[in-house]
């Protein structure tokens, strides 16, 4: 398991491997992508990650992606961007078009973990649901509580979360410890709690389509 704090703030240098395909991912997906590479024997893939905390200022993601693609693409046959739209308002999609690379379909990781079609079908009934993933359940403190200032100013909680009713933990793995952490996060936010197992959803499908000649 990689260090979540480093994935949040520093990202991840390119992993060892003889990969012909480089996965350029959000740090919040690093452990999941490495698990998929391991499980499926995708030896043609290497992984590098941008800091997950970029999600707190999505307008910075496209420039960071552009720089990383420029830095790495000469060393690989193909680069694949393991981001969804992630709050960039279509800018990542446009950038991928410009750079001639592909990315994951969907609005965000909650959606592609669940499966974009399934998530979309539920979306209307879940507008007041705050989602956690494995990464966010583990990193609730450093990714959510501290950046939102809730550790220093707990009185802000209802300004951020007043319209939410429930925390939904979308679980990539069966891990009772993470379940407990997610439930504690819900309690801290004063919200109801539910867990829904998703596995890796469309992330697995998207990466599975990347052959060495992707």
């Amino acid at each position: 398991m990689l260090n979540d704090d480093a994935l949040t703030h520093d990202g991840l240098d390119v992993t060892q491997g003889s990969g012909s395909v480089l996965i350029l991912a959000c740090g919040a997906l690093a452990n999941e992508i490495l698990a998929l590479i391991r499980l499926n024997g995708w030896d043609h893939m290497s992984l590098t990650c941008l800091p997950a905390i970029l999600h707190n200022s999505p307008e910075k993601i496209p420039d960071a992606v552009r720089a990383a693609v420029g830095k790495h693409r000469d060393g690989y046959d193909h680069v694949f961007l393991a981001y969804a739209d992630c709050g960039t308002g279509g800018q990542l999609d446009a950038l991928c078009e410009e750079l001639g690379i592909k990315m994951i379909r969907g609005p965000h990781c909650y959606s592609f973990f669940e499966g974009n079609d399934a998530f979309s079908a539920r979306a209307e009934g879940e507008i007041d649901v705050f989602y956690l993933t494995d990464f966010l359940a583990r990193g609730f403190e450093s990714f959510i509580v501290k950046p939102l200032g809730l550790d220093r100013h707990p009185q802000l909680r209802d300004m951020y979360f007043g319209h939410y009713t429930k925390v939904m933990y979308l679980a990539q793995t069966d891990n009772p410890e993470l379940d407990k952490m997610a439930e504690a996060a819900a309690e801290r936010l004063g919200l109801a709690y539910e867990r829904r197992f998703t596995g890796y959803g469309d992330l697995a499908t998207a990466l599975g389509g990347l052959t060495s000649r992707a």
């Binding site: 992630c86 965000h108 802000l156 319209h163």
Partner: protein, 234 residues
């Protein structure tokens, strides 16, 4: 705040020092101090509108600039906004009584499917601070809710907000409906929210995309001035 600053007694400051101190207190999100400062200025005979513009809006403008420049972050802006809200609560009824200048009227709401309202609330507050009458219709608004508010309130400006990539296209549904009904040009449509950009604003047929509350206020003022000039020319 330093120990030295904690000893400051607001009532002992002259007007200029007090306004400066209130800017600092807003910056630090000190609601009680802002409440006290507002009351002191009113007791000294200040017009409510001047308290609002000089002490509160002036202070929040500094907060807005430092947020834009990456010096302040969202939690600090929210604390400052809370402090300003405390001051506004005292001033609002007085402003109504004293007939303060009215810049125009705005209906504002977050679009259908979206419950996020921090940005919208900041815009509402800053617009009120700038002398606009603001009717906030809240979160998760379907097109019917916007239409009802527009008909009832007859505003100059419609503001729409969205935080999610998945909900921002709904702004176009609202604008297209206004076009269908032949009332699009009756309003200036301003849009904002984290995933939006200028290109999106143009593509959906809004008049302007506003990247933050301060820009929203300036843009609204420009449109009102231009509207005024057009009326004067006829």
């Amino acid at each position: 705040m330093s120990d030295q600053e904690e000893d400051i007694i607001l009532s002992e400051l002259n007007d200029e020092e007090l306004v400066q101190q209130m800017h600092d207190d807003l910056y630090d999100g000190l609601a009680e101090e802002i409440e006290e400062g507002v009351n002191i200025l009113l007791e000294r005979g200040w017009q409510p509108y001047n308290v609002l513009t000089d002490a509160l809006v002036g202070g929040m403008t500094i907060v807005g600039v430092d947020f834009r420049d990456g010096i302040l972050f969202v939690p600090e802006v929210l604390l400052a906004a809370n402090a300003m809200k405390t001051g506004m609560a005292i001033l609002k009824p007085l402003l109504a009584e004293t007939g303060a200048p009215r810049m125009g009227k705005m209906v504002i709401g977050t679009v259908k499917g979206d419950i996020h309202d921090i940005g919208k609330n900041l815009v509402s507050m800053m617009m009120e601070g700038a002398g606009f009458e603001v009717v906030d219709i809240g979160i998760n608004n379907a097109v019917e809710a916007y239409l009802e508010a527009l008909e009832k309130e007859e505003p100059d400006i419609l503001g729409m907000s969205a935080l999610l990539t998945t909900t921002m296209p709904y702004m176009k549904v609202v604008i297209d409906t206004l076009v269908e009904k032949g009332i699009r040009d009756d309003y200036t449509v301003l849009v904002g929210g984290a995933p939006l950009n200028e290109e999106f604003g143009k593509a959906i047929g809004a008049d302007s995309y506003c990247r933050d509350a301060a820009v929203a206020v300036e843009t609204a003022k420009e449109y009102m001035a231009s509207k005024h000039n057009q009326l004067a020319a006829h």
